[in-house]
């Protein structure tokens, strides 16, 4: 497995774990109009900090294990993989962001509900981006 495929796995798994950390925290407000809640805000900040720390530590470890791979610039196949994955993720981001606006307008979400929907859209598109990279790396391009 190449260095870049390993980093894609690390990012995808870290995203899933830290997203679950936030989504499953009690008290869970599964509503479109959640009340402002400082505990949830702190859990969100903790999730983001956890993501950054795990990502940095894991990538530094992988870099140390394969320094030559890590220093090599992207070649044409890897650039194509990045572009194809980003293109797919863009569709997810555009669709889910539009969905967030529709939810706000038609289902009466408040500002915090909209912010959560946009955050979920962003994280979902990142997940699709890195999952697509892994699939393309496995398939060849």
């Amino acid at each position: 497995m190449s260095f870049r495929e390993k980093t894609a796995w690390i990012t995808l798994i870290t995203l899933i774990v830290t997203s679950l950390l936030f989504i499953l925290h009690p008290p869970l407000q599964l509503t479109l109009a959640p009340e402002p809640d400082f505990f949830s805000l702190h859990v969100l900040l903790l999730s983001i900090a956890t993501f950054v720390v795990i990502e940095i530590v894991a990538i530094v470890v992988v870099r140390m294990r394969s320094p030559r791979d890590a220093k090599a610039p992207l070649d044409e196949r890897e650039r194509l993989i990045v572009l194809k994955a980003r293109s797919l993720a863009w569709y997810v981001l555009a669709t889910s962001s539009l969905g967030s606006v529709m939810v706000t307008i038609h289902l009466g979400a408040n500002e915090l509900g909209l912010a959560y929907c946009v955050l979920i859209s962003f994280v979902l598109s990142l997940m699709v981006n890195y999952a697509a990279r892994i699939v393309y790396y496995r398939r060849g391009a």
């Binding site: 190449s2 495929e5 090599a72 070649d75 044409e76 196949r77 890897e78 398939r139 060849g140 391009a141």
Partner: protein
Amino acid sequence: MTGTAITNTIRKLRFERNEMTQQDLAERVGVTRQTINAIELGKYSPSLEVAFRIAAVFGVRLEEVFSHDGGIPEPRGAAR
């Protein structure tokens, strides 16, 4: 891109050059080992530039490395 109509003789050419490794070839061509592996297995069709560089490393002509298996489709609206 899973499987292309382009076939290649990279494996054979590597074997004939004292079993050159994919890593050696990748370094000389300027791509990653995984890309050479994907090209060799027919999972990825390289750009013309990389194809020419691979041929140059082996010191052979491009068509001795790569060949196209499928027929060439007729352009739309071509007169019969």
